[in-house]
Symmetry: C2
Subunit: 168 residues, 2 copies
DNA sequence: GGATTTTACTTGACTAGTCAATCATTGTCG
DNA sequence: CGACAATGATTGACTAGTCAAGTAAAATCC
């Protein structure tokens, strides 16, 4: 992983070295791959955030939580069970849920049979919002499929899996 | 991009679906690829942050800035020129530099001929710290090369470049 | 059955990212 | 030259991530 960043680029598929004000060459292809990985993930997340912000006052994290709660159905999920299904770790989840509650997108209730747990449920407002956002997010999810064919996509997944394993 | 996350896994190279408490299958391979991308980038960054924190009181962003300043040499760089070489955008850079200055790793000076610009330079302390961190970071940079061969690495870079282009 | 441990959160103190607004200094143009 | 626009940097108000510490309610163990 090396520093430095993008600005503009000319070619149809800008390569990593062009995205960066790169003075020296990369020490190795492996290093270039890591930078490509991070730049790409960053770009995908930024695009997602932009699209979500354009149509609703919601961040990707908040959207994630609502999707998880929709998947959980009307019984809802306790706080830490939500955290387990997200990329990041625990303590942030409480404050994230606070914001969602303030916006009227979730309801929380302390469980009667285990008063340590706090059950969270998506509200009807949230479900309506999600339904509105679904087509947009599906479209973004399918963008790689417009650029890569089936075999290439599977190849990419396999390569990423191996890189991830190397960093475990 | 779909929600949900990891916890533990058994197989040698855990696949994306296993990293997640996945109930339903993915809508498409493209969607699975995006999730793999984000999980992998996240893992790489987390590992980097952990290693840096283990040997010095420094974050990846702070390390990035110091590398950029080392590359710029003794003349230093103005604030926004640093921001241009990083992944994120402008306003955060001022506060990041504030922290680096507090730690004695950079010096700032308003330029005489253009008093709008603030020139930043890495201190000797920072350069010594970087020299100490270099082997560690080089090792991390080369991890993908232990898992993938040359052709696979180039393939990965090419695929990532195309995905990134799709999200431009 | 009362102390101890574990579980499920919660809070506080940081670092860092975003956007909008602001400020001083320069540049430009009529 | 003087109004006005552009540039470089900074600040304020948020969202969010991390770690360490704390609280309250189970669960477990003599």
């Amino acid at each position: 992983m090396s520093p430095r960043k993008s600005k503009t680029a000319a070619s149809p598929v800008p390569r990593v070295a062009d995205e960066i004000q790169q003075t020296r060459p990369f020490r190795s292809s492996a290093q270039e791959a890591l930078l490509a990985l991070i730049l790409t993930s960053d770009r995908v997340l930024a695009r997602t955030a932009t699209e979500l912000a354009r149509v609703a006052d919601i961040t990707p994290q908040q959207y994630n939580v609502l999707r998880i709660l929709r998947g959980a159905g009307p019984e809802g999920l306790p706080t830490l069970a939500i955290a387990d299904r997200m990329i990041e770790r625990t303590p942030g989840i409480t404050r994230l849920l606070d914001r969602l509650e303030r916006k009227g997108w979730i309801e929380r209730e302390r469980l009667a049979d285990d008063r340590r747990q706090v059950l969270c449920r998506a509200t009807k407002t949230a479900l309506k919002l999600l339904a509105k956002l679904d087509p947009l997010m599906d479209e973004l999810d399918d963008l790689p499929g417009r650029e890569l064919n089936g075999a290439e996509t599977k190849q990419l997944i396999a390569l990423l899996d191996r890189v991830r394993a190397a960093f475990a």
